[in-house]
């Protein structure tokens, strides 16, 4: 004989079925980010102390050095931080090359009145003066915005450009900006609006991934990368970290 169900039982079964049919957002590939963060943190916490050389034979020392190098290289190749549309890779020995990201490589500024229609989302700017120049930024994941402010007392100049502040906004989760830094110490995890973000304060290399391949730029300023909703922001500045975070958090 079939067991009779109470009304609550029927409702519970219906809820279970509803749960299986819910359209959750796709589960992001969290493990890569977690492992990369742990490896960066581990590297910071466990700085190797060199043993007293006098106690070591030359052969043993060479063996230790070789093993350490292999380990460091393996760690370096594994280190890959992803935030929104940006990826940061640790490439020991990388020498930043290419032109700086400036007016010489960006073509013509875009009329502001057509700007948002062209890139397809609302551009946000930090508190303070409005940008002096605006460009449509073409990457593999879609069009983005590049806003630039002329160097001023407020925004000290960036190496190699007449600008003092650059803000890139990109709405895509497709990797479109790749940064190569020389070591773990170049990357600092910080919080912008309470969310995990990254600060790079050493010269590094930026690859912009396009449909045709990639373009490489030399970055001399400090860079803060954060996300808000589905938009990835990249701020390049000569300001220090606290001022950069304050600017980022003022973006409206």
């Amino acid at each position: 004989m079939a067991e009779s169900r109470t009304p609550e039982d029927t409702l519970a079964v219906a809820l279970r079925h509803a749960g299986r049919e819910l359209a959750y957002p796709p589960t992001p590939p969290i493990s890569q980010g977690v492992v990369a963060r742990l490896e960066v943190e581990r590297d910071r916490r466990t700085r190797p102390r060199f043993p007293a050389v006098a106690l070591w034979s030359r052969r043993r020392l060479l063996a230790v050095v070789a093993v350490s190098l292999i380990g460091l290289l393996a760690l370096a190749f594994a280190a890959r931080l992803v935030i929104g549309a940006a990826e940061i890779r640790v490439q020991p020995g990388v020498t930043p090359s290419g032109p700086p990201l400036g007016p010489d490589v960006l073509g013509d500024p875009f009329p502001v009145e057509r700007f948002e229609r062209e890139i397809g989302f609302a551009v946000r700017v930090p508190a303070g003066p409005l940008p002096d120049h605006a460009y449509v930024f073409v990457a593999a994941g879609g069009n983005g915005a590049l806003l630039a402010w002329e160097a001023s007392e407020r925004y000290p100049s960036l190496p190699g450009t007449p600008w003092g502040l650059i803000l890139v906004e990109l709405r895509t989760d497709q990797g479109s900006l790749v940064k190569d830094v020389g070591g773990f110490d170049d990357i600092q995890e910080v919080r912008v609006n309470g969310r995990a973000s990254f600060w790079i304060d050493d010269p590094h290399q930026l690859h912009v991934i396009t449909h045709e391949g990639s373009e490489t730029f030399r970055v001399g300023g400090n860079v803060l990368i954060w996300t808000r909703g589905d938009v990835t922001y990249r701020l390049e500045t000569s300001l220090a970290l606290p001022e950069a975070i304050a600017l980022a958090e003022s973006v409206r």
Binding site: L11, L15, G19, T27, G33, V34, L38, E39, G194
Partner: protein, 193 residues
């Protein structure tokens, strides 16, 4: 390593010894249920992603306090739910959860008749809409126990409440849910399992 997949407890032991890759495997195992738990609590996809990632990082540093013989899933879900709640509170938002019932069935699913499928889908939509009307505490316990299909014990651990409280909140929550449903609403008699 070849052969059988490592058990959670083995991966936990490796992770406790500093094996970050082993921990990455644990993250992979539980990332989906963790992200969904965070989503149902934080009520926002971006916050859920951050909460899940932060929870796994915090859990790694708390592994010394975790007994390898205990089940890993409710332990990590507890940390995830705390992170998700913190984010929701710090954001000061009261967003409606954008829960939607999927429009399409997977290609491998048995295809019911079009009428039956439409009725079932409408039933689920109505249920999800009614769930939105419940107080947060009732909604969370129903979400964990039924939408995520956690056991009562897992629901208790995840939400940081006693098993007896899970039972009482479920009973109260279902009663409230029934009151929020349209008059004459009858869940379709689908078989569970």
């Amino acid at each position: 390593m070849e052969g059988r997949p490592l058990e959670d407890a083995e991966l936990v032991e490796l992770a406790k010894g500093g094996d970050v890759r082993a921990y990455g495997e644990l993250v992979d195992r539980y990332r989906e249920i963790s992200f969904r738990t965070a989503y149902l609590i934080a009520r926002n996809g971006a916050d859920a992603e951050d909460a899940t990632q932060d929870a796994f990082v915090k859990a790694y540093y708390a592994l010394d306090r975790f007994r390898s013989a205990d089940p890993f899933r409710p332990w990590i879900l507890r940390i995830v739910s705390n992170e998700a709640r913190n984010r929701r509170r710090s954001a000061g938002r009261r967003e409606r959860l954008a829960l939607r019932v999927a429009e399409r069935r997977g290609p491998g699913d048995a295809a019911p008749s079009p009428d039956a499928a439409a009725i079932a889908q409408e039933t689920r939509r109505t249920l999800v809409a009614a769930l939105e009307m419940l107080p947060e505490r009732d909604r969370e316990v129903i979400a964990c126990r039924y939408l995520l299909e956690l056991s009562e014990a897992e629901t208790a651990t995840t939400l940081g409440i006693r098993p007896g409280t899970v039972k009482s909140r479920l009973s109260r929550g279902l009663a409230r849910l029934r009151r929020e449903l349209p008059e004459g609403f009858a869940p379709s008699e689908e078989r569970d399992g």
